[in-house]
Symmetry: C2
């Protein structure tokens, strides 16, 4: 029997702004030299030295349109044999791009807090991006909606492979907020909301399944956060999202990340 499908989400490596703590949404920065070196080493470690991810099991890569995510992907894939790489389909997905920070783009948390204060905001409680979102950028509901849509698509790809009894590790290269947010929604955090009539019309874009179109997905509901999920995720950090009991109706978070004993049988 094929192993249970997984989604392995990898945050891009270090940039000048991840180093300084500046919010980086649509600004298209490359990795620093340290970031390049680190992600190359990470690829070697994960695909070869420790064999934490078997390249044979990777079916799709979903990647943010931003340079830093794509560069991270390319550096890590240097450790995957050329022959194998041909079989992995790469999908650039706008839905997994970073939070649109609007007025807060390029700023530090302390600067954002001051800016909001000067605009008369946050008099009763401190700013929380997970609840309050970004002025002239995305609200938490908007961010949650598009990440819920990305999750639906990925689960559909998992389902198709699972029904064929094929392994399906999907890799996701994205960002600090988008991965933490998506991870939280994946294993059931956040609040569920019915889609508006307009949102219902937005069919979940099809991912092309090796030439065959996969069936459309319609969403009746989506989820979004109203509080901080309290996660740590460094540049280059890697999250493993899977399913309990090998059952695709039971999405779960792998608490150990990718570093788990090779022969363990997981019944939890």
């Amino acid at each position: 029997m094929a192993p249970t499908p997984r989604l392995v989400a990898i945050r891009h490596g270090q940039t000048e702004w991840s180093k300084s703590g500046q919010y980086t949404g649509s600004t298209d920065l490359p990795l620093t030299e340290d970031g390049v070196e680190e992600m190359r080493t990470a690829g070697l470690s994960i695909f070869q030295k420790n064999n934490l991810i078997s390249p044979e099991r990777v079916t799709y890569i979903v990647v943010s349109p931003r340079t830093r995510a794509q560069q991270t992907m390319n550096l890590m894939l240097e450790s995957v044999p050329e022959e194998r790489k041909k079989h992995i389909k790469v999908i650039v997905d706008e839905d997994v791009r970073e939070w649109e920070y609007g007025d807060y783009e390029g700023r530090l948390t302390s600067e954002i807090i001051e800016l909001r204060k000067s605009r008369g905001l946050d008099k009763e409680r401190p700013w929380l991006i997970w609840r309050d979102g970004c002025e002239n950028g995305e609200s938490s509901e908007q961010f949650g909606f598009r990440l819920s849509r990305a999750i639906q698509r990925i689960r559909q790809l998992h389902k198709i492979s699972h029904e064929k009894n094929e392994a399906a590790d999907i890799l996701l290269f994205a960002h600090g907020h988008s991965i933490r947010y998506l991870s939280a929604l994946w294993f059931g955090l956040g609040v569920e909301k019915e889609c508006s009539e307009e949102q219902k019309k937005e069919v979940v874009h099809r991912y092309d399944n090796n030439g065959e179109l996969i069936p459309d997905v319609h969403m009746e509901t989506y989820s979004h956060m109203v509080s901080n999920p309290n996660f740590l995720l460094c540049p280059g950090g890697m999250v493993v999202l899977g399913y309990s009991h090998g059952c695709l109706d039971e999405p779960a978070l792998e608490l150990s990340g990718a570093f788990i004993p090779q022969n363990s049988i997981c019944l939890t």
Copy 2:
């Protein structure tokens, strides 16, 4: 400045019952031969080959009284130099032992479901251990109370080291349910409840701090789960619990587990 304190929680290696899926609470089973081999390799990988945990930073080990947890600890510590081991204080803590399964000890999930059905239970909704607990064993409230107490103690040790500007990785060797439950409470899942007058009298037992008694901790509230946190954790799996922004008031879950790029600066 010393790195932010962490709690690294390690589930014991494979036993005959973790292999078969039988609930193992107080039953005192040893590891299987595969389990022994795997945990020895894991120790080598974590402390030496990949240097995921620096033995120099480990201050305390908190371990369940059960053989399988202690055996796992000893196998992994084979990869820590003798000289360094002398400086690590080992605390056997009843509060981190596995859930007391009561009537369900040694049984499979399917058998428990049948047993409960034969007793007229679960007519309206299926059994959920995280909410319904175990007959003649511990309720979820009871389990949550003692794990909250263990968390308070560990945070106190972190605080003492942090104030002295000393590194403090604490290792915890425990069990599938106790680690998943403790992890969920660590980063804020579950519901908070006021301690009863009796519970308030139960001072959090002191851990001896290298000969000096550390101050008592009193708990006004504790937390417990009412739903499944949806975590995967295999035998030998390892969870990293820390704090956001280096701030001990912001407990958080490391989404990547122990496998994070060595030079990353984490600002999230």
